[in-house]
């Protein structure tokens, strides 16, 4: 995944080049999404007007960032790590998909265990497990019980 700056000799700042292009793409995608909305209404503004203006400006600015990245010396691309984002975002997604069915009691522990895997050091599974149980219990007492938040605590088969 790591893009080496040396391979992009032509661009002085690969970071800005890529960033600018990304913004242009976001702008184009937004224009595609609003293509069916009216661009102008009877008083000038309609539902599609503001998104279009913002998208065009974003495309223009993205191009400017790209061009400057091409011409001006700047930072290269940083390494993207895989492990951290996968573990962190994976644990959050796990929470999202299981909270309704498994409840906080059965979601918290695996979630904490998954996210702990993001830390690059040696995995201390005993500590992680104890900590996961502790923090889950703490959240269970705090949110649904003490603060009365309507978060499912128990899995559906126990409710």
């Amino acid at each position: 995944m790591s893009l080496d700056a040396r391979r992009h000799q032509a661009a002085r700042s690969p970071q800005d080049m890529i960033g600018g292009i990304a913004m242009v793409l976001i702008g184009v995608f937004a224009l595609y999404l609003v293509k069916d909305l009216p661009a102008a209404g009877r008083v000038g503004f309609a539902s599609g007007t503001a998104p279009r203006i913002f998208a065009y400006c974003l495309i223009g600015l993205g191009l400017a960032v790209t061009v400057i990245g091409w011409l001006k010396e700047g930072p290269g691309l940083e390494r993207l790590s895989i492990r951290g984002p996968v573990a962190i975002l994976g644990s959050v997604l796990f929470f999202a998909f299981s909270i309704r069915t498994l409840g906080l009691a059965l979601t918290g522990v695996p979630m904490v265990l998954i996210s702990t895997a993001a830390a690059q050091e040696r995995y201390r599974w005993k500590e992680a497990l104890l900590f996961a149980i502790g923090i889950t219990a703490f959240c269970a007492v705090l949110f649904p019980i003490a603060l009365g938040q309507p978060i499912p605590l128990w899995p559906t088969f126990l409710r």
Partner: protein, 328 residues
């Protein structure tokens, strides 16, 4: 935010004990656990207040707390969709509303429920009359003058509403239909900002629920022209009804009613209906609702049958009108 190992262990033991308790509870008579009433709007709004007042009394009859859960979004349809899809066991019910069960199919083509077939109606909780209010310096004294003024100045007048699909929007759509005009409608994000601009005279008039506007009317910040119910309201006794003021066809109310998902057992529906009827006929609860300007139904009006009929007549009234008049 963090705890020591020992605290963690103690807590873990505690949670284990709670788990065991949860698993042990057997299936008993309904209701044996709290009932969740989904309010499809934000806390503090008119529907929320009605739900909380009624829910508090219902929990006395049911012997279990009625917990209010606010699931706002998409004109109330997010929360109602949730209830329509939940288990029909009587533990998840909804405080529906004129918008979600009367008008929504005319506003949202992709709506995921049918107000008439996807629910077991429980009963009507309260009707909230709609009031036509104007800025205080508008040069009209009554509804007749207002209609003449609006028809004459159709191109220059400004009607405020609380956003597309809101009660204030669709009721004024109906009013305009009856006045045969198509004026400029200014949408706001909620009743509050719309009312602010009405008080300062930046817009000319709006239609909204009595509870949202009565104190501003009493404080002379805005003028009320007519109330769209058959009888005058005790909270604004000087305001004539639309019938008295000469527009009898404009009779509309933002009612709130309790619904359970389709397939809820008949005995559960009966228990919920009984609890609701007891709530709305209780003098203290009735007074609370009436103090807010609500029209509280009698035992017959709060029955499941009456609600089913109401939903049907409201659907017949709103869906064709909104499909024709409101562009989606």
């Amino acid at each position: 935010m963090t705890m020591t190992k020992r605290q963690g262990l103690t807590a873990a033991a505690a949670i284990g004990a709670i788990l065991a308790l949860g698993a042990g509870s057997a299936q008993a008579q309904y209701p044996n656990k709290p009932v969740t009433m989904v309010v499809p709007f934000a806390a503090g709004g008119p529907t929320d207040v009605v739900a909380r007042i009624v829910g508090e009394h219902m929990s006395k009859t049911l012997g279990q707390p009625v917990i209010i859960e606010n699931v706002a979004g998409a004109g109330g349809t997010t929360g109602i969709t949730r209830v329509a899809k939940s288990a029909p066991d009587g533990y998840t019910i909804a405080m529906g509303h004129m918008g979600t069960h009367g008008a929504a199919p005319g506003l949202y083509p992709n709506i995921a429920y049918n107000p008439q077939t996807d629910f077991a109606p429980i009963g009507l909780a309260a009707g909230t009359p709609i009031v036509i209010v104007t800025r205080k310096d508008l040069p009209v004294k009554n509804l007749q003058e207002f209609i003449a003024w609006a028809q004459k100045n159709e191109k220059t007048i400004n009607n405020a509403n609380a956003g597309s699909g809101s009660v204030s929007h669709i009721t004024c759509v109906l009013l305009h239909e009856m006045m045969k005009i198509d004026p400029n409608q200014i949408p706001y994000r909620g009743t509050g900002p719309a009312l602010t601009d009405l008080v300062s005279g930046k817009v000319d008039y709006m239609c909204d629920q009595i509870v949202s506007v009565s104190s501003q009317v009493k404080g002379d910040a805005i003028k009320a022209l007519a109330i769209a119910t058959p009888a005058r309201s005790p909270s604004l006794p000087d305001v004539p009804t639309t019938k008295e003021a000469g527009l009898p066809a404009f009779e509309v109310s933002a009612w709130n009613a309790v619904f359970a998902p389709k397939g809820t057992p008949a005995d559960v529906v009966a228990k919920l209906s009984d609890a609701l009827t007891k709530a709305v006929t209780d003098p203290a609860t009735k007074k609370k609702l009436e103090d807010l300007g609500g029209v509280v139904p009698d035992a017959k009006g709060a029955s499941p049958e009456a609600l089913a009929a109401l939903v049907k007549s409201e659907n017949d009234r709103w869906i064709p009108l909104l499909k024709a008049k409101v562009k989606q």
